[in-house]
Structure formats: structure tokens, C-alpha cells
Symmetry: C2
Subunit: 450 residues, 2 copies
């Protein structure tokens, strides 16, 4: 085992471990929230209980994290409508300045003593396979891990989270498609620590499967499968993308080969200005084109899948029309951008159109008659078929993107309705102006890392 790696890990450990004072402050805040929630339950005569969940409950939070997740568990006899109403009511009582958010059902988010508090109602079900809503699972996860993560493992969970954040693959939201906190903790538990996890990951040959409780009943197509110890039919790693698993493997090797603290620290590239963006595309000799539009008003977990779907759809459209896409990316802020970097931005006035075999007379006659006096080149014979060179419908990628053809491909629903209202197509040097809003994203795009 490398001394160098040990030194790096010691240094990172120091950085990510909360101080005693920090722990105490968080415990006080959590205590305050739990006390308020219990009082609110009692006031309303409900036979529920209150539970601290997540990394704060498991002592696996990273120094500087300011999240407190508290679940209020209702008896299953309470119907869903009442759970939602009372859940929000309690939420507002606990967090008077809070606001509502919506996952599978609504909950209240607010601030207590400088901590970001989520107050989530759920059902107190018998076990995780009997859940009525996804959030009902969380308390079981907390109980399972609390019973198994000692202080050393909790230390290593922090290290692992810092590493995953540093390399950009932490978070199971649909934008990141990375490792959830629960998945991270299960992997550390399974491998007995951070170092043995990265040593194993460096050699994984996906599909890789772990089943800590040896009770898995279903099969999964995913590259990484970690059967939920509290639910034999669930893959905890379902949200992890193929690329992010590969990235984790890549950086695991990097860390072992050349240990360094920087791998535990996310680096945002310096933003590029419009001129630098133009110069970069010039150097690559490609033609960038961008479809820009007002960002649909959606939560990120809805927005990013829609952007990805739209990006794929339009990329396919461009490719099919001969405008070869080298790479593509979607960015979103106030405006959204679908960026396509083209190898070919222009095609000739004519395109080859291959007709039926001459000997298949019923089709051949129709084809020949259709084109014989239509001003195309041909029909001529190539091998056994008629061929014409007819006028190409879209001579440039810009013409294609400005046409209604983009609505013939699969787009995200809200992206589609936004594009129908209005959108702008930027091409070539004009794409540089995107740097005003997306200078950092463009810097990352133009200097891609694993």
C-alpha cells in the first residue's frame, strides 16, 4: 500500500471530517427540528413518530454540509390525501418561513439555525417492500446503515463522497446520474472501506453485482447492481449512468497510480469569453450550431432528461441529413441550449436518391415516370436500379434546424412546446455569444476530461 496514498487520504480525511463544534451545532439544529415536529404531531393528536434520516443521522456528512432531513412517519391507516395535507401543515408549523416542494408527494423545505431542512411526511410501513411511496423506504435505509456503520466506516464514507464529488459523479439526480449517498455507503460497507473499494473498482468488469443480504430476486440490465438490503427487488445503483461508472473506474486507477488531493476537489474550469470560444471552434475546424430557447419551467429531474432526449433526437436528424455531428451538449440556465458541433455543415444542391430495381416493373415504371421530366439528373441506371440526383431539401444545417423537420423527431414534451413558440439558431462565430451565459460549460466542453 502506497505511503503516498495514505498521506493523501489522511489530508482529505482531516478536511472532510466535521469538527466537534460543527457536530454539536448540527445536533442542536436537528434536535430543535425533531422537537418541533413531535410537538406538532401531538397537537394534532396523530400517533406518528419523527426520525432524523440521511447522512446527518448516520454521521456520514461532510464538513460544511448543512442539510438536515427529518421524516414524519404516519400510521398506514391515514389515507394519502390526509397524509399530504397534515404533512404540509406540520411542515409549515415546524418551518414557518418554509416553502413547498414536490417529489412523489409534497413536503416543506426551510431553514433552522442556518441549516437547510427538509421535512418529509411518509408512512410507517412494516418493511421496505411494503412501501406506499418511494420516500417510505428512507427510514429503513437509515436503520440498516446506522446498525452497521461504525466510526471508521463513517470516516471512509466521507472520503468516498468527497472523491465522488471531486470527480463529478456524486448524486443520483437525473442531471448527474451518479452515485447516491445510500449507494455510496452500501459500497463502502460491502468493501470494508474506501481504499478497498477503489482497488476493487479499478478492476471491475461490468456488469458488477453486489447483494449484501443475499436476497436479490430480480435481474437488472444495469452495469452496476447493488441489491437494496431492505428490498430484494430494487437496484440501488439504477440511476448510475454507464459513463459515470466508467469515470469512477478511471479515477480509481488514477488515484491508485498517482495519489493526489486534487482528485477530491471538484474543479470548475475558468469560463471562456466569446472570443475564446470562437477561437477554439476555429482551431478545431468544426462548425458549431446551437438551438437556443427559453428554459421550460421544470424541476431539474424533469428538465435534464427532456434536454437529453431532445439533443439525441435532433442529433439523429442532423446525421440523417448528412450534417455529421462530431459532439453535442445541452446547457440550461435562464435559456437552454442544444449545441451541435458539425463536421459537415453544408451539402451539395443535389442528393443521390436510389430507386427500385429496373426489373421490378410496377415500381420501376412509377419511379421513372415520376422523375423523367422533373428536372432532376437522371434517372440513370446504376447496377440493377434506377437512380436520380434530385434537389436536396436542406442544403445547410441551419436550414434544417430552422425548419419544421425538428418536430418530426422525438423531443422532450416541454422542450417541444417551447420550440414551437420560438427558438433561435446560432451558427459559427455567433455561437461565441453563448459564452456570456455558459462560459464555464463551454470551457468544459472544449477541454473535455474523463
Amino acid at each position: 500500500m502506497s505511503e503516498e496514498l495514505s498521506g493523501v487520504l489522511r489530508a482529505v480525511r482531516r478536511r472532510v471530517e466535521p469538527t466537534d463544534a460543527e457536530r454539536e451545532r448540527l445536533e442542536q439544529a436537528a434536535h430543535e427540528v425533531i422537537g418541533r415536529a413531535e410537538a406538532a404531531l401531538e397537537e394534532r393528536g396523530i400517533d406518528g413518530d419523527v426520525m432524523l434520516v440521511g447522512s446527518t443521522a448516520r454521521n456520514t456528512w461532510i464538513a460544511g454540509d448543512r442539510d438536515v432531513d427529518v421524516f414524519v412517519r404516519f400510521p398506514t391507516a391515514v389515507d394519502r390525501e390526509k397524509l399530504e395535507a397534515v404533512g404540509l401543515d406540520i411542515g409549515h408549523a415546524v418551518l414557518p418561513d418554509g416553502h413547498e416542494e414536490y417529489a412523489e408527494h409534497p413536503y416543506v423545505v426551510g431553514e433552522v439555525d442556518g441549516y437547510d431542512v427538509d421535512l418529509v411526511p411518509c408512512y410507517d410501513v412494516e418493511d421496505a417492500t411494503a412501501i406506499q411511496s418511494a420516500v417510505d423506504r428512507t427510514p429503513f435505509h437509515t436503520e440498516y446503515l446506522q446498525a452497521r456503520l461504525d466510526d471508521d466506516l463513517a470516516d471512509d464514507v466521507r472520503l468516498t463522497k468527497a472523491f465522488l464529488k471531486g470527480i463529478g459523479v456524486y448524486g443520483s439526480d437525473l442531471r448527474t446520474q451518479g452515485f447516491s449517498g445510500y449507494l455510496t455507503e452500501l459500497l463502502v460497507l460491502e468493501h470494508g472501506g474506501f481504499r478497498s473499494l477503489v482497488e476493487a473498482a479499478a478492476e471491475w468488469h461490468p456488469p458488477v453485482r453486489f447483494d449484501p443480504e443475499t436476497h436479490g430476486t430480480a435481474t437488472f440490465d444495469d452495469d452496476l447492481v447493488v441489491i437494496d438490503p431492505t428490498d430484494p427487488e430494487r437496484n440501488v445503483a439504477a440511476a448510475l449512468s454507464t459513463a459515470n461508472l466508467a469515470r469512477f473506474q478511471h479515477y480509481a486507477r488514477e488515484l491508485l497510480a498517482e495519489p493526489r488531493e486534487s482528485l477530491f476537489e471538484p474543479v470548475d474550469p475558468d469560463p471562456l469569453d466569446p472570443e475564446a470560444v470562437r477561437a477554439a471552434f476555429d482551431e478545431r475546424g468544426t462548425t458549431p450550431v446551437a438551438v437556443t430557447f427559453e428554459t421550460p419551467d421544470l424541476v431539474e429531474d424533469d428538465l435534464y432528461p427532456q434536454l437529453e432526449k431532445s439533443l439525441d433526437g435532433i442529433r439523429g436528424l442532423l446525421d440523417r441529413h448528412g450534417f455529421d455531428v462530431l459532439r453535442a451538449a445541452a446547457f440550461a440556465g435562464e435559456h437552454a441550449v442544444l449545441l451541435f458541433e458539425l463536421e459537415v455543415a453544408e451539402r451539395p444542391a443535389v442528393e443521390r436518391h436510389v430507386g427500385p430495381p429496373v426489373h421490378v416493373r410496377e415500381h420501376a415504371d412509377g419511379f421513372y415516370e415520376k422523375y423523367a421530366d422533373s428536372g432532376v439528373y437522371g434517372p440513370f441506371v446504376s447496377e440493377e436500379r434506377y437512380v436520380v440526383e434530385r434537389e436536396r431539401e436542406y442544403h445547410t444545417a441551419t436550414e434544417l434546424l430552422e425548419s419544421d423537420a425538428i418536430f418530426d423527431v422525438a423531443l422532450g414534451t416541454d422542450v417541444e412546446s417551447t420550440l414551437e413558440t420560438t427558438h433561435t439558431v446560432l451558427v459559427g462565430a455567433a455561437v461565441g455569444t453563448l459564452a456570456e451565459s455558459f462560459g464555464r460549460e463551454l470551457a468544459g466542453y472544449l477541454d473535455p476530461k474523463p
Copy 2:
């Protein structure tokens, strides 16, 4: 049956039928040649015979044709070396101003009374399956047809030949890849005349097979199979290309749908001048590139297959490098030209290069190390693989065609050695200058007919 078609055929028949005076002149010339050849045989004490073959022998020649083919048949006891030596000796005796040409063995070509005479030595074998050289077959073909073609059928053979010439598919040489005279006569015989032949051809569904003597033993991959009545193992239509069979079917339908004499008259398009060629490519919006070189000193049957092979090889090379070829053609005169019309003549400075899956560590590590500090974009991760965008070797089609990469593809042997010595690459407007030598060919290329 259309009156109109009958009228057209009557007119063509009048045009292609030799006059009595013309027949007489040809018979005199043939008689003269045969007489000289018989005398030469006798002088040399050889027990051979002399035979008029080909269309002049079968009365199927077209008015204006000036070809007389005479075969001198040697006993099989004569060894090949002697046959060649004596054959040439007799050839020069018969045609004192003649010169030698070479097919499977050498023969003499010359002029008698204004007719082009081929004097070909061959063996007097028992039947066509016992031939020692391809030419030994010819006398059997002549005998077979002489016994079966009456004057009406001979008339229709002339009509058919005129039609095949008119539409550009007459001749089984490797440049034309069309219908040989023998194939034409067998098809007319098989169908009982020109009109029934074209009516049948309009409906053919290749592969089409005829076996006049019902003695065929072999199977063939060709689209049209006509088993040689004098040799059960030979397809008389083997040299016919797929495209030329399709053309014959196309024009057969044209003739039946809209009978007109022009279909029996080959039209050479008016040559284009350089300016018109440039304007035509401009209008198409393509980029023409041409590889030009001194034409290798070969007979056409060697030259054209080599040009086609080279054209295919370089076309594939261009396509594989992203210089999409819309159409290509080879021309030959004093110089030879391989012309490629490109949809894409230029690619970016970079190209996508997909590496191994990250999890296949032995390959992945090597790939990553090779590219990590090499100035490429990346390596980055796309799905499960490493990808880099590296410098493209050939940025333009011209660079590619001027490089040694053209020698990595299959070229005709003599074309390859010529290109190794010297060749020129013309691109864009410069291709217009080819019109000085190939104005007619370019006119045909730019206004393609079936």
C-alpha cells in the same frame, strides 16, 4: 401490336439492311481473302481449312459494317508454337500491309478492298467442348447459326443489333460489357424475332436463363444466362453487366411504350467546354476532383478493367476518410482520368477516435497513456469507452489523393505503376480543363441517361 412500332421497325430495317451492291462487294472481298488464305495453306503443305465466320458469314451484318473475319483451321496435331508461327506467317501473306494483334494468341489484322480483315488461326477441334483456345469455338457458333437463321431472322438480328448499338449496350468487350453478336443472334433465335424479344425483355425478372439445346450442366451467378448451344458449360452472356441488362429492359419498355427511330441511333452528346463544365459542377454544388495520369499502354480489354478497379479502390478510400463521393467515372484517351464528384471535400482539423471500454483495463490503460499528454482533445468518457478527438491526417480530399495512401488500396497493376511515377490532382474549377480532351464524356457524365 402497335402500328407505330411496325412503322418504326420498317424504317430501321431499311436503314440497316445492306444493299445488293454492298453485299456483293463484301462477298468479293471475303472471297479474295479466303482464296489467298487457302493458297497460303497449300503452299506450306498444311492440311487445314479456311472459314468465313462472324456476322458477314451469317448475313447478319449491318449496312455500313466493314468487318471480315476469316479463320484458318489447323489440324490438332500441329503444336501450339507452330500454329502461332505459321498462323502469323499466313496472316502476313494474306494481308501484306497488316499488323499483329494479340488475343489468346497472336493474329494479323489488315485491309482488303477497304474492308477490315481479321485473319485468325485456330484448331479444327471435334466439337466446341474440346477447344484448345477460346477462338476455336467461333467456327462452331457460325455453323450453329448458319443452320438456323433464315432471312427473316437475320433481318431481325440486324434490327436488334441496331437497337443495342443505339442504346449503347452492344459489344462484349470489357469496356462496354454489353451484348456480343453471338448472344444477340441466340436471343433473337430463341424468341423468334426482335419484337418478341423486346416484349419478353420488358418483363424479365433476372436471373433469366435460356438453354436452347437443353443441355446446360453448370449453374451461373449471372443475371442473364444463355447456355452456349455448342458448349453446355458456358454462359454466352457472362460478359454482360447488371446495369446493361437493366438498360436493355428499360429501353425495351421505352420502345414499346413510345416507338421511335432515335432509339436505334446512338447519340453522342455535344462536348462541353471548360467553362460549361465548371458551371455545371457549380450548379450541382459538389466538388469535383480528378486524378490524371498518362494512359498505360494496354489493349482496351486490359485497360478498362484496371481503370474501374482503380476507380473503386480510390472511391472507397475517399469515402472512408469522410470525403463522401456522390458519383465517379473513369475516362481514357491520351491521358487517363479518375473523376470523383464529392459531397464533402473538407473535414475539420479533428476527428473522433473511439478507444476501448474503460473496464477492459489492459487496453484502456494503454490507450489512455498514449493520448493523455499528446495534445489531443480528451481522452474523455463516452458511454463505457474512452474517446479522443485527435488531429485528422487528411484535412482535404486533395491532401489524401496527393498522399501515398492511394497505394494502400487495390489499383490496377499498370495504373498503380503509372501513378507511382507521376500523377496530377485537379480540384474544383481546375477540373474544367479536362473538357479539352473529354468534353463529350463530361457532357454525358453531367446529363446522365439510363
